[in-house]
Symmetry: C2
Subunit: 158 residues, 2 copies
Amino acid sequence: MGIQIREGKKSDLPRALELIRELAEFEKAPHEVTNTVQQMEEDGFGASPIYGFFVAENEKEIVGLSLFYWRYSTWKGKRLYLEDIIVTEKERNQGIGKLLFDRTLLHALESNCTGMMWQVLEWNKPAINFYKKYQAKLDSEWVNCSLEKKQMEERVKK
Amino acid sequence: MGIQIREGKKSDLPRALELIRELAEFEKAPHEVTNTVQQMEEDGFGASPIYGFFVAENEKEIVGLSLFYWRYSTWKGKRLYLEDIIVTEKERNQGIGKLLFDRTLLHALESNCTGMMWQVLEWNKPAINFYKKYQAKLDSEWVNCSLEKKQMEERVKK
């Protein structure tokens, strides 16, 4: 299938954001994407980069990406967190997600992490089965909590 | 109660790790703490710091901490992630956790984050009630997945 996996560059960001938007549309939440190319340039290629990414490329274009950053476990130290794996719809079911996952796993080792982490939706059985092949630990006891900037600003005003 | 909240310094790390160990013992998992002061110095105060922390201090000693770092949402950009709030057992129920939470929330705004995130155990009702007062969004659809270094090394060998 002629897929190459390589590190993402600044010039890949417009296409990366297209893939991010494609996934959001697929999940029926396009309005949730408030990120921009300019913001991603600053956050990923500025003075203190917050994230990194790998891309999967065929002869013509980028067809997938994995985006990651570091987390810090008070118990276990530096961990790689895999935020997203995205493969464009028409290129799915060819193993491109696995190539991206394995490259990211290797990067966690190269970066001296004590482990890697990610999340999966509890109803996403194909993904869960994929991760079970790696004998990943799955833990559904935790609830994700979040506050948005606007709520936080209102809280601080009080 | 004379509690001061301030940014954590390198010299606070031995006490910080004591608090981390105290929590692990309380959770009956002391053997899970493989982190060390030296490692925390490198990870928090080296060339590329991965985390930051606030401490709560009374006249005598540090009695609590909150530890945080940046996460990156492909949809929403830079987010503060609150990894842990710890208050030493004998100083609980005086609002020290709230002081640490509010200081961390303020730091998320000061650091130009689009929001903040954390996790709570689904059976921890007092904590959940506390977060509901902030009108935090709670989402229990996600499963935490992880691989440890040893598993990853074995995988790469194949």
